[in-house]
Structures are given as C-alpha cells and as structure tokens.
Symmetry: C2
C-alpha cells in the first residue's frame, strides 16, 4: 500500500502555499462530483443530467440557451445532456409561439418523478461534505471561494481582451 504523502511539501521548496489552494479546490470539487455520482447512479442519472434536471425542477420549459446559462455550461454541453435526457424520456423538447429556432425543454412525468428520488441524495452528499465546519468557517469558505471565482474570471477577461483565450481543442495542429 502506498501512502500518499500529503505533508511532504508543506515546507518544501517549489510548493508555495498558494499553489496548494488550487490543488485543494480541485480535489474538493472532484470529491463532490464523485460523492454525488455514486448516489445518482442508483437512479440511473448521470451528474450532467442532474445539473439540468435540477434547474428544470425549478423552471420548467427553459430553452437550451437559458439552461446553459443557468448551469454555467456551454451550449454544446447542454445540447448533449438534453438529447440524452430526451432519449431516456426525462424531458421533451418543443417549439413554442411559432418560434422554430428556440427549443424549450419540458419535464415528462418521469422527469418530475425523479425529483423525489434524487434531491435527497444531493442534499445528503452536500451535508456530509461540510460536517465539522462551523457557521463562521462556512461563511468564510463561501466568501473566499466567491472572491477566487471573481479574481479568476477577471483574469480570464483580461486575457481575452489581450487576445489570449482558452486554447482550442479543435483543429490545433500545433502540438
């Protein structure tokens, strides 16, 4: 058994304190995802589907674009999830008001049914994660994360203004 040596670099070189935060955030995010995924699997719902189901339970009938905005995800991601959920019979996509462009997603009875089964699971996973943290700590955690998110968004916006953006994944013959 190989023991992951977490302490190794606390005072070591090359590992600035700041860097550890990025790592901790990534690990925590992965933990959240996995913990929830394990639970969702029992209901045959994937993590990506849950994200959109959760939004639709609160606002049924949103368009794909609106859904992607609510979820903070791009349209292709929303598209893939919605297509799959339509196949699974959780949602149905329709046009309304004679608009042939906009596709609104509506939950089916099956989609509504899932709510009672799934929501408790999500709440449970989230409760477990913050065990042992008091109110003040949770507040600071929220505040700190919010600040980080804003700092990084600003950084990305600055970069974009200079013409630098997240590297393309398509047609990148450079590598």
């Amino acid at each position: 058994m190989r023991e992951i040596n977490e302490c190794k670099n606390i005072n070591g070189m090359g590992n600035r304190g700041d860097e550890r935060i990025a790592r901790l955030v990534r690990l925590a995010a992965r933990g959240f995802n996995r913990s929830l995924q394990i639970r969702l699997k029992t209901q045959n719902v994937t993590f990506g589907q849950w994200i959109f189901l959760r939004i639709l339970w609160q606002e049924d009938g949103l368009s794909q674009r609106e859904l992607s905005e609510r979820a903070h995800l791009t349209e292709p991601t929303a598209h893939a999830a919605l297509t799959r959920m339509e196949e699974l019979g959780y949602v149905e996509r329709r046009n309304i008001a004679g608009n042939k462009r906009r596709q609104h997603a509506y939950l089916t009875p099956r989609g509504w049914e899932l709510r009672d089964q799934i929501e408790p699971l999500a709440i449970e996973a989230n409760d477990i994660a913050v065990v042992g943290l008091n109110t003040e700590e949770r507040d600071i955690l929220r505040k700190a994360l919010t600040a980080i998110i804003q700092n990084l968004e600003k950084d990305e916006a600055d970069a974009a203004r200079r013409g630098v953006r997240v590297p393309p994944t398509k047609g990148n013959p450079a590598a």
Copy 2:
C-alpha cells in the same frame, strides 16, 4: 459574452446553503483550470501534461503507477499523458533494474527546459486567484477544503465498503 448571474439564487428556494458550497467549489476549480490553461498554452503544454511534468521536476524517474498516485489520478490517465509527452519529446520511458514490467519516466532536456518557462506561469495564476484574501482567510479556506476532502473520501470509502450503493436516507436502491 457569458454573464455569470450569481445573485439569482441567493434567496431562491431549493438552494440550501450547503449546496452552494459544492457549486462554488466546482466553479473555483474550473476557474483555476482555465486560468492555468490559458498560460500553459503559450508554451504548448496542456493542463494534463503540466500535472505530471510538475511531479517529475521534483522526482524524476518515477513509474507510471507512482506518478498516478502522486497526481491523485488513475493509471489510464497517467498512461495517456505520458504517452503523449513521450511523443512530444518531454519524457522518455525506460525499464530499470531488469524489471520489464515497471516503466519509469525520465525527463528529457526539453522536459527540463519547460520548467523555467512554465513554473512562473502557474505561480502567477495561483497568486491572482487569492488576491484580496488575508492570511486568516486563507488558513480557514485550506482547513475547510481539507476537511471537505476528507469527509467526502470517507463517504466514498464507506459506500465502497457497503457495495458502492448508498442510500442511507431511504431504502430504495432500485433501478
């Protein structure tokens, strides 16, 4: 233009405080990744490659398994990254001590070269992220994230022990 509408759900129903932490953590993790990716791209290195390069700069010659453990990633992930990095000429894989099973990865001169170009970029991205947080807040942030990671790891271990299927809130492991 992606306008992140953060305020929308603050008072909305169905959005427990705890749940927001999971979301904030995910968004922060994504921010870190994107911010770093933008910078790494200038040196033609992907995020996944950086993770392993970073480890090798400190411990050259690790095996694939050791690398995957250091990185907290699985072996297929390490395998893909190493294969690509070998193609790119950043590392070289060799057997040592007559062991034909274990594959040790060694940085090439090119791999070492990247260090000076890339490390400052990572440090910069991380510095930017925590602007505006004082020492105490950073400490609590670290402590809270560490606790969350451990809580979720324990949760996952418990689930695995029970057969990977875990709904304590209800007795319906259907599907």
